[in-house]
């Protein structure tokens, strides 16, 4: 391999330019690693499992002020069931990615609040319509569905998510355990694999955590207006169009909320639009950053090659091969980039600490550093290649000119 000593002594004569490239690499390293990490974090949010059969679900949402809930439910569900292609309809209070219905603080001892989960409520058939997956416990029976007292029934058997069970009773079997919210009492009879709150990551639960409770309720005064409609994925958008028409005819006094009456895939796409924009922006910054850094290296390396034409000529005249010259510039670039990466790693961690402090970003996993280093070494070698090849093609005869 090339001997580094002469390179180092040559670099010592170009301290400023060397420092500039190293600095640029260091800054690029810090921003690159952290931006990639932020992208990964956002992508993790995008791929959250909602726990419902998204692709075959649509939501119809009505605002009906002063309606009789039971009467409205009867008319609307009958009209929706008559739409061709509809497999089932259920009255619910919310669906993932639609409007949240009710967060409430709960306690295990009626004294100390320990968490704020989202309470889903659903009428008979809602478990099947939503496609909720139970991993343990029992199914709801007819007498589990009760009439709500303002909000929910006073004493209910509920399902909770595995993640929430782990939060409330770490390492224990949650079945049969109880919790309270104000005067409302809940007993866990089933555990779901997944059910995210309607606005996952919205400041409730741990970063996109699934703190949800599902409560069986008889639809009526406190449960009306939101309907989950199940249809085959292929027919879903047509079913939704028809459903919007029929409910307006079936309940002319109610106001159809067009924003919320959509298919769940649409609601999900909408919910994450900003996240996707953020990912796009971060990716744009990374690409622009790598481009600018590469162009900077090309510019400075070209300058050095031109400045040293004569020395290169002399070395060639004294017997150095083209390969020697090429390797010289490649090794020089490797040294500078390595120095930059060294400083950059410290800066990466510093930047990550700042982000953790102000933006609730988790700690950067260590494997980002070697990956970032590899990318930057590659980038350095790629951008120095053209100037180095030009250097290698300097003919030995240059040495004899204008001395």
């Amino acid at each position: 391999m090339t001997n580094f000593a002469p390179i180092l002594s040559a670099l010592r004569r170009h301290r400023l330019a060397t420092a500039l490239i190293a600095m640029e690499i260091a800054l690029a390293c810090a921003v690159l690693c952290n931006a990639c990490f932020l992208i990964a974090e956002q992508l993790r949010l995008l791929h959250i499992t909602s726990g419902v059969d998204e692709s075959s679900l649509a939501v119809i949402s009505l605002d009906c002020d002063g309606c009789k809930g039971a009467d409205l439910n009867a008319r609307v569900t009958a009209a929706l069931r008559a739409v061709p292609g509809v497999e089932s309809v259920a009255v619910v209070n919310a669906v993932p990615f639609a409007q949240p219905a009710g967060y409430a603080g709960i306690s295990l001892d009626r004294e100390h609040f320990i968490a704020v989960p989202h309470f889903y409520a659903g009428g008979p058939g809602s478990v099947e319509t939503l496609g909720l997956q139970r991993v343990s416990g029992r199914a709801f029976q007819a007498d589990d569905f009760q009439i709500a007292e303002n909000w929910l029934p006073l004493n209910t058997s509920v399902w909770i998510t595995r993640a929430f069970a782990e939060r409330l009773w770490p390492g224990q079997d949650p079945l049969g355990k109880e919790f309270w919210s104000d005067k409302y009492h809940f007993r866990v009879v089933g555990v779901m694999a997944h059910l995210t709150p309607p606005d996952p990551g919205g400041g409730h639960g741990d970063s996109g955590g699934e703190w949800s409770v599902f409560v069986p309720v008889i639809p009526g005064e406190s449960l009306h207006g939101v309907y989950a409609v199940r249809a085959s994925p292929a027919a879903l958008s047509r079913v939704l169009r028809d459903a919007r028409d029929v409910v307006q005819k079936a309940a002319p006094e109610a106001v159809l909320d067009l924003q919320q009456s959509r298919t769940v895939p649409e609601l999900r796409a909408d919910f994450y639009r900003q996240t996707r924009v953020m990912v796009g922006m971060l990716a744009g910054v990374i690409v622009a950053l790598l481009l600018v850094t590469a162009l900077g290296i090309v510019g400075l390396a070209s300058f050095w090659v031109q400045q040293r034409r004569k020395q290169i000529g002399i070395r060639r005249a004294m017997g150095a091969t083209r390969g020697d010259i090429l390797h010289y510039f490649q090794a020089e670039n490797f040294l500078i980039v390595s120095a930059g990466i060294g400083i950059g790693m410290v800066m990466t961690f510093a930047l990550n600490l700042v982000l953790m402090k102000f933006y609730e970003v988790p700690r950067l996993p260590a494997y980002y550093l070697p990956l970032g280093a590899l990318v930057l070494w590659g980038l350095g070698q790629l951008s120095v290649l053209a100037p180095a090849l030009r250097a290698a093609s300097v003919p030995p005869v240059v040495a004899t000119r204008s001395v």
Partner: protein, 440 residues
């Protein structure tokens, strides 16, 4: 001399087009990204009531039995505290505010009913916040007291329902009540919607909804409570309300009180008044504690709520970091460019040019790159702002490049490139003439 240096600079930039393009690109991209994000920050963190925000205050007392003196009080007031503080009339102006969703039937316009947000406020709201009217005006204090069925509507709604005409005297149907329009606002778009800011500390940085549009319908406070009873949302409750949506006697906080105190000397007196009120309520057993009353001014309240959305802040930092990298890059390229002309510099120096002259020449060249970069950066900023306007965020319609930010684009571009050019120019003017002349 400047003209001559400009000539030289143009000549030099033309000689190596690729290098010039690289530098202009670096400046333009860096400036475009930073100015886009900084413009958003600038628009979102401005003073919504310039000149009067320091006289506007947000009193808070803590009625929750679960609170402590060491805690922050809840973000809104319970009904009784709010009405007590309001009816004491100890400030120059005071307004009670509550928002609720209401069904708006547009009987004469023949359109289907819609759900809309209604603001219910006492009349000082309009004078205190300097809300501009196109037709008519606010209602009277008498109307507040008598729960008159009146409303003020936004310019938007007036366009939609009455084609922008003078609709004072016409009727709106809100839920099941008819209200008479007494005023139509001019377009009014405070940024943020400051009077509705609350709960920012629980939002985890997701605060873009603070920049929503003001409500289309504004009714007198007590009128609103009457016509939309059962549809009010609590900020939070410490027990379930007996009747959901009816909160006057519920253990909930849901009303905002804003006051204006014009004389700075009176602020301390009002602060004492609020503290005394809480102490008195504790004495009669309605409050469990009275030590955590607050009286923040408008900007203090916005600060406390961290109104600037977290991702806007993050984007701004990223963009500035990106600009710094672009600048470091430009320093390198300028260094290469200037030192490549060492021979030329040597010759000029030998012919009598002073170091200052050489320095000035290269600074002019850097500045020229900055100017061109700034022009491209301005175009990129416009593209960036256009992209933000396409986003589904509440502040999208606010985003535009105002004159100060337009000027800042160029000042920043030229300033940044002069800064970047400084080091290479110093290097260039230190070139020793004799060495260079020998190698010519």
């Amino acid at each position: 001399m400047f003209g001559y240096y400009l000539d030289l600079a143009v000549h030099s930039l033309r000689r190596n087009k690729v290098l010039t393009a690289l530098m202009v690109l670096a400046i333009a991209v860096g400036i475009g990204a930073s100015m886009t994000t900084l413009t958003v920050v600038h628009l979102l963190s401005g003073d919504p009531l310039p000149g009067r925000s320091h006289t506007i205050f947000y009193p808070q007392v803590d009625a929750s039995p679960k609170g402590k003196d060491s805690d922050e009080p809840l973000d809104m007031l319970d009904y009784r505290s709010a009405v007590d503080l309001w009816s004491a009339r100890r400030a120059d102006r005071q307004a009670l505010l509550v928002q609720s969703q209401v069904r708006l039937n547009t009987a004469d316009a023949g359109k289907p009913a819609v759900m809309t947000m209604m603001l219910s406020a006492t009349t000082d709201f309009f004078t205190m916040f300097d809300v501009p009217f196109r037709y008519g005006g606010p209602w009277s204090e008498q109307d507040d007291a008598s729960r008159a069925r009146l409303a003020v509507i936004s310019d938007d709604l007036n366009q939609k329902l009455f084609a922008g005409g003078n609709s004072v005297g016409r009727t709106l149907r809100l839920r099941d009540s008819d209200v008479r329009i007494v005023g139509v606002l001019k377009p009014w778009r405070p940024s943020p919607q400051f009077y509705a800011v609350r709960g920012g500390r629980f939002a985890a940085g997701d605060t873009s909804d603070f920049y929503a549009r003001p409500e289309d319908v504004i009714t007198p406070f007590f009128t609103g409570l009457d016509i939309n009873d059962g549809n009010f949302q609590q900020f939070t409750c410490w027990h379930m309300p007996a009747r959901p949506g009816h909160l006057q006697d519920a253990p909930c906080v849901w009303v905002a009180l804003w006051v204006q105190i014009k004389d700075a000397a009176q602020v301390a007196a009002y602060r004492r008044f609020v503290a005394d009120y809480a102490a008195q309520q504790q004495a009669i057993g309605r409050f469990t504690h009275a030590g955590n009353t607050r009286l923040r001014d408008l900007m203090g309240w916005l600060d406390f709520n961290g109104v600037l959305p977290g991702n806007v802040r993050l984007q701004a930092w990223l963009a500035v970091a990106f600009l710094v990298i672009c600048l470091v890059n430009m320093v390198g390229l300028l260094l290469a460019k200037f030192l490549r002309r060492s021979g030329e510099i040597g010759l000029r120096r030998a012919l009598g040019a002073s170091r200052a002259a050489v320095f000035a020449q290269y600074m002019v060249e850097s500045g020229l790159i900055g100017l061109i970069g700034g022009a491209f950066g301005w175009l990129l900023t416009l593209v960036g702002l256009w992209l933000i306007r396409q986003q589904p965020v509440a502040y999208a319609d606010l985003v535009r490049l105002d004159v100060p930010m337009f000027l800042l684009t160029f000042v920043a571009a030229i300033g940044a490139s002069l800064l970047a050019g400084m080091l290479p120019a110093v290097r260039a003017c230190r070139v020793v003439p004799a060495w260079q002349l020998k190698t010519l």
